[in-house]
Amino acid sequence: MNDIGNIEIQQLSLGFKSGFDTKIIINDLSLNLKAGSFTSLIGPSGCGKSTLLNAIGGHYKPIYGSIIIDGHEVKSPSADLGIVFQQHTLFPWKTVKENVRFGPMRRGLGRVEADRLADEYIQLVGLSGFKNYYPKMLSGGMQHRVEIARALANKPAVLLMDEPFGALDAQMRASLQDSLLSIWKNTQVTIVFVTHDVNEAIHISEHIVILSRKSKSISEIIDINAIEDSSTESFMRSKKADDLRLHCIEMLSD
C-alpha cells in the first residue's frame, strides 16, 4: 500500500469576486479521499465540480477553508498535482515525446533520463509508434492518451481529470476507460475524475461524490466497492447497478 496522494478538503468555499459581490460556487465542503483511491465527481451542470477539481489542482484560491494533500496545503499548481483537462492542452509545437518529457525536464532531469521516462509512459498508454508525431497528426483519443501519459510522467501524487473523455465516441471512451483503470492499478495514483456520465462514474470509480447545485456542497457519497459484489462486467449488467444508475440520475436532476 502506498500512502502518497491523500486528499483532505476542509470546510472549503470557492467562488469568484465580481465587483463587490462574491459569487459562491462551493460552500463549506469537507471531503477525505484516501491515498490510491479512485473517486468520481458528478453533479448537475453548474454545480462547481470542475471548479472544485481546479482548486485541488491549485488553479483556484479558496475563499475559505483549505485543501491539504499529504499534510501540505495546496497553494499553487505543482507537478505533484497532475491534471488532464477537458480541452486538448498538448503543446502543438512539441512532438509526443517532447510533450511527455516536459514535466520530468522541468524537475531538472537530464534529457536522457527524461526521454527514458517519456518512453515508459508513452508505452503505458500504447502509443510507442507515435513518439515523434506532432499532436495535430493524432486522433482525439490518441491525444487524450498522450495527455494522460504527460500527467503521469511527473509521477504526481494525485491525477485530476476534468471530463477527459467527454468529447469522444462511445467506443473510444470505453477503450480509454479500460486503459485508465489498468494505469490506475499499475501506478496506485489517487484519481479524482469529473464526469457528467453516470454510467462512466459507476464503471470506473470506487466512490462517487454527488454535488448539489442547491446546497453548493456534497449531497451524497456512494461507495461502489461496498455494493459491487461481482466482477465489474457482470456488476454493470446487474439489477443493483441499474438501481444505482437511476438513483444517481435522480440526484442529478434535483
Binding site: P77, A79, G82, T89, W93, G103
Partner: protein
C-alpha cells in the same frame, strides 16, 4: 508498367500546366513592356507625361553601364547593411516589448501608453527630429528604419501573447513550469506565428522608411542612388534603382519566409 505510364502521364499534365502558366505570365509582361515602349517612344503626353520617361531599351543600357560601376554595388551594400542592422534591432526590441506588454501588467501600464501615442506617427515624420538628435545622418537613417519596423513587430507579438489559451498555461503550470518556463515553452512558441507576421509587415515598413531616409538625408544607399539619378537627370538609372529596390526587398521578405518555414513545421 501501367503504373509507370500513369506517373508519366501525370508528370506530363503538370509540365504542360507549368508551361502554360509561365507562357501566360511572360506574355503579360511582354505586353506591359510593349505598352511602356509605345508610351515612351512616342512621348505621349495626355494628363500623364511620358516624354521624360526612358524607354525599356534605354533602361537596359543604363543597367548594363551601372552594373559595371563600383558605386552601384556600394549603394546596394549600404542599403542592405542598414536594413539588416535596423531590422535586427527592431526584431529584438519589438519582440521583447511585445512579450513584456502581453506578459506583465506593470510593463503594460508603463509602456502601452507610449506605444499607443507614438505608433500613429509614420516613421518618415521622424526624419527632422532624428537628424537633430543623432550625431550623423547614418545613425538617423538607421533610427528611422528601426522605427518603421519596430511597431508592427511589437503589436503583432503582443497580440500573439494575448491569444495564448489559459488551458495551455494551466497545463504547463501543473507540469511544474514556473513563470519563466511558461514564457519559454508556452507563450513564445504560441506567439511565433504572430511574430513572423509582424516581422514581414515590419520588413515592408522598414524599406519604406529606409528609402525615405536615404532620399532625404543619405549619402549612400539605393534610395540615394535613385534620388540622385533624378537630380542628375539620369532617368534610366531611376528605373534601375526602382527595380533594384524591388529585388532587394523581395530577397529580405524571402529570408523571413524561410525563417517562418523553419520554425513552424509543427503547424502543418
Amino acid at each position: 508498367m501501367i503504373f509507370m505510364k500513369r506517373i508519366y502521364f501525370d508528370m506530363k499534365i503538370v509540365m504542360v500546366r507549368n508551361i502554360f502558366k509561365i507562357l501566360g505570365s511572360s506574355i503579360s509582361i511582354f505586353l506591359g513592356i510593349f505598352i511602356w515602349q509605345f508610351l515612351t517612344q512616342n512621348d505621349v503626353n495626355f494628363f500623364l507625361d511620358f516624354s521624360n520617361i526612358p524607354t525599356p531599351f534605354h533602361v537596359l543600357t543604363s543597367f548594363q553601364s551601372v552594373v559595371a560601376t563600383k558605386k552601384y554595388w556600394e549603394d546596394i551594400y549600404w542599403s542592405m547593411y542598414r536594413i539588416i542592422l535596423s531590422f535586427s534591432l527592431a526584431s529584438v526590441v519589438g519582440i521583447t516589448i511585445g512579450l513584456l506588454l502581453g506578459y506583465s501588467k506593470i510593463a503594460r501600464l508603463i509602456i502601452a501608453p507610449y506605444v499607443e501615442l507614438i505608433r500613429p506617427i509614420p516613421a518618415i515624420a521622424w526624419v527632422p527630429i532624428s537628424i537633430l538628435i543623432w550625431p550623423t545622418t547614418e545613425e538617423s537613417i538607421i533610427f528611422i528604419t528601426f522605427l518603421g519596423a519596430v511597431f508592427p513587430i511589437i503589436l503583432n507579438c503582443w497580440d500573439g501573447v494575448k491569444r495564448v489559451p489559459v488551458e495551455l498555461v494551466k497545463a504547463a503550470q501543473s507540469l511544474g513550469a514556473g513563470n519563466l518556463g511558461v514564457l519559454i515553452h508556452v507563450v513564445i512558441p504560441y506567439a511565433i506565428p504572430n511574430i513572423v507576421v509582424g516581422m514581414s509587415v515590419g520588413m515592408g515598413a522598414a524599406w519604406f522608411a529606409l528609402l525615405a531616409g536615404e532620399m532625404i538625408s543619405g549619402r549612400y544607399g539605393i534610395g540615394y542612388f535613385t534620388w540622385e539619378s533624378y537630380q542628375l537627370i539620369q532617368y534610366g538609372n531611376i528605373i534601375v534603382g526602382m527595380l533594384t529596390i524591388g529585388i532587394l526587398s523581395s530577397i529580405t521578405s524571402g529570408l523571413i519566409y524561410m525563417i517562418k518555414n523553419k520554425f513552424l513545421s509543427w503547424a502543418e
